[in-house]
């Protein structure tokens, strides 16, 4: 079996630190397979991550990689992209990293339509710190900081991205791995802020606390709960409970920030470098 994607990993940094059954490895592999499909150069692609389980991915990937501070991946990535628009900049983040501590940066990255491809590994929990509730922990689910079930309403990061101005918004899951790869490929195709929510199972911190069974059971749940966008749109409201749409959820044309800045430079009489 050909494993051509292996060249995108730092073999001397593996094995990874994720727990047995964790979905992060699947999402990470989907990213490099998307990079391979797009033929992006390893010398010209930068992986930027925040802090948390998801964000350890950057260290395993053989590119220029940046493991930033908690929540701050998007501002760092914005600086990289603006400083050198020739670089492909991919952000790996998690549900806590992106929508809690990094929430402001997330919506403003979307608003600027800066050309980043942001992949959010959504495991519905703070895994690295041992299972605290995140803004994407579903209502009623248990966490170490929500021992009686969470009463905090949940962010829909995809709808948030759309409302904030992202020009490409998609969702997939660790179960639908080919589909997830395709969603990332399309995100890389979009010249603007692309957001892909990758649902990943966390059997250790989230699944165990909520009696969701094994990693395979959690992936089976994803298979049963995920509905392709076209089917979702036709689904009766009463059938949508405990289900969620996957696929390209939103797409529009829009000028990306670095290109818009080229016009500023021209107006100011400068030369684009």
């Amino acid at each position: 079996m050909e494993r051509s994607y292996e060249k995108y990993f730092r073999q001397n940094r593996l094995p990874h630190l994720w727990c047995p059954g964790c979905g992060n490895g699947i999402a990470m592999k989907a990213i490099v397979q998307a990079i391979e499909k797009k033929g992006l150069s390893q010398d010209n692609t930068v992986i930027v991550s925040g802090i948390g389980c998801s964000s350890r991915a950057s260290g395993y990937m053989d590119f220029d990689t940046l493991h930033t501070a908690h929540g701050r991946a998007i501002p760092f990535a914005t600086g990289i992209k603006l400083a050198n628009p020739e670089l492909n900049v991919i952000v790996i983040t998690g549900d806590g990293d992106c929508t809690a501590i990094g929430g402001n940066h997330f919506i403003h990255g979307c608003r600027r339509n800066i050309d980043l491809t942001v992949v959010l590994f959504n495991n519905n929990i703070y895994g690295m710190t041992g299972g605290q509730a995140s803004p994407m922990t579903p209502l009623g689910k248990k966490a170490t900081t929500a021992p009686y079930g969470s009463i905090d309403r949940t962010f829909d990061a995809a709808r948030l991205a759309e409302a904030a101005g992202a020009t490409y918004v998609a969702r997939s899951t660790a179960y639908h791995v080919q589909h997830l790869t395709d969603m990332i490929v399309q995100g890389l195709d979009n010249q603007g802020f692309s957001f892909i929510e990758a649902m990943v199972q966390c059997p250790t911190a989230y699944g165990r606390k909520n009696k969701m069974g094994s990693a395979a059971d959690m992936m089976k749940d994803m298979q049963e709960s995920a509905v392709m966008k076209a089917a979702w749109d036709k689904l009766a409201a009463d059938k949508k409970e405990h289900k969620f749409p996957i696929g390209v959820l939103y797409k529009e044309d829009g000028l990306d920030y670095a290109t818009a800045y080229e016009a500023v430079i021209e107006t100011a009489g400068g030369k684009n470098k």
Partner: protein, 382 residues
């Protein structure tokens, strides 16, 4: 020589940074530093550089660090409340060794304080304002021309040592307008971005220290596939959970500045030849102190002044030598007393140290410092 211009301190700071090679600015509006951002928004695109107004102070710090990693010299500017927010990533820059300059045009604190009256209350914040052990370089100009020069110096030091440098302005100098003659571009020394000495194939490691203990970290996009993290790391750039590596990493961060300490500690002396007493001051307050010392001399008091342009690292050697020479030192600062503790530490009881503090939104009057000098000369008695 260039033509004389009427210029504001904040403008001079922005122009100095550009002269030193800054081509990227990220910031957030805050008085009394906003003119720096406004100047950058106008000037940078005209030279092909980039300005971006971020959603908050934290993002402003993140965006300049990203730009610096991608190879651009980068600047951000703020005032106390904003600097408090930037502290997180100032520590990141220290740990990951990313060149960046942070301008703090100080105003009265704590918190929102007295916007936007003058203060020098962020002396200790500049030194310690982020968690964990880290070195710091902070420069404090006392004139508009020196704001320009200090900006050039700050950018050069950030590149040379690959460390965050704080340009510790105050509102007095930030908003002061005076006549300046700027240096010609050819006379400005610029420290270029450090370059890797070998290729990946030759075993390049991004955090291998050079002879001066500073690593030659490659820019992103140059094919080195480096990893940058705020975790304590070894020469490879990857995190290591080892006591030995941790100790060595923190030692090197400090030592790379420490071995150059004398060279980067800039001070100036006035009327010190036969002085029996000295005033220590910095930034805008040094202008008032200078006037006060001149007036004291006219009254026959044998007093001089030592001005600190480099605030951090602290001028230990100079102050220690001063203590051996004079009977007493008066520290004049626009705060409740911060730098005075460093002076006392360096003096170590060898002479009298007194504080002339002010923290009521107003700058010093020369008479106030003169009263301090009178008291100092009287051995602490009114």
């Amino acid at each position: 020589m260039t033509e004389a211009r009427l210029m504001q301190g904040n403008e001079a700071c922005a122009e100095g940074a550009i002269a030193a090679g800054v081509s990227f600015f990220g910031g957030y509006p805050i008085t009394p530093s906003t003119e720096i951002a406004e100047g950058m928004a106008k000037m940078l695109p005209a030279i092909g550089g980039k300005f971006v107004q971020m959603e908050d102070e934290i993002a402003s710090m993140g965006v300049v660090l990203g730009a610096s990693l991608a190879g651009k010299k980068a600047l951000t500017a703020s005032s106390g409340p904003g600097i408090s927010l930037k502290q997180e990533l100032i520590g990141y820059a220290a740990c990951a060794e990313i060149p960046v300059v942070i301008v703090n045009v100080q105003r009265v604190g704590p918190s929102t304080g007295q916007p936007t009256a003058p203060s020098q209350g962020d002396v200790m914040q500049a030194r310690w304002g982020t968690h964990g052990d880290h070195p710091m370089i902070a420069l404090s100009p006392w004139s508009v021309r020196e704001a320009y020069d200090a900006a050039v110096m700050a950018v050069n030091y950030s590149e040379r040592f690959r460390t965050p440098v704080i340009l510790l302005m105050d509102e007095i100098i930030g908003h002061l307008r005076e006549k300046v003659v700027l240096p010609e571009a050819k006379d400005i020394k610029i420290y270029p971005r450090r370059k890797p000495a070998c290729s990946r194939a030759e075993g390049y490691q991004p955090y291998t220290p050079d002879k001066d203990l500073v690593p030659n970290v490659a820019n992103f996009g140059e094919g080195y596939h480096i990893h940058v993290t705020g975790l304590i790391h070894d020469e490879t750039g990857f995190p290591v959970g080892s006591p030995k590596i941790t100790e060595e990493a923190i030692d090197r961060l400090h030592q790379k500045i420490e071995i150059a300490r004398d060279e980067i500690t800039h001070t100036e002396e006035y009327f010190m030849d036969d002085a029996e007493y000295a005033v220590i001051a910095f930034g805008g307050t040094a202008r008032t102190a200078y006037e006060a010392v001149k007036n004291a001399r006219a009254k026959g008091q044998k007093v001089g002044m030592v001005r600190l342009m480099t605030i951090w690292p602290f001028a230990d050697k100079i102050v220690k030598a001063l203590a051996a020479k004079v009977k007493g030192i008066l520290v004049a600062e626009l705060n409740y007393g911060q730098l005075v503790h460093e002076v006392e530490r360096a003096v170590a009881g060898k002479c009298d140290v007194q504080l002339c503090a002010k923290y009521n939104m107003e700058i010093f009057e020369p008479q106030e410092i003169e009263s301090g000098i009178d008291k100092l000369c009287a051995g602490g008695k009114d």
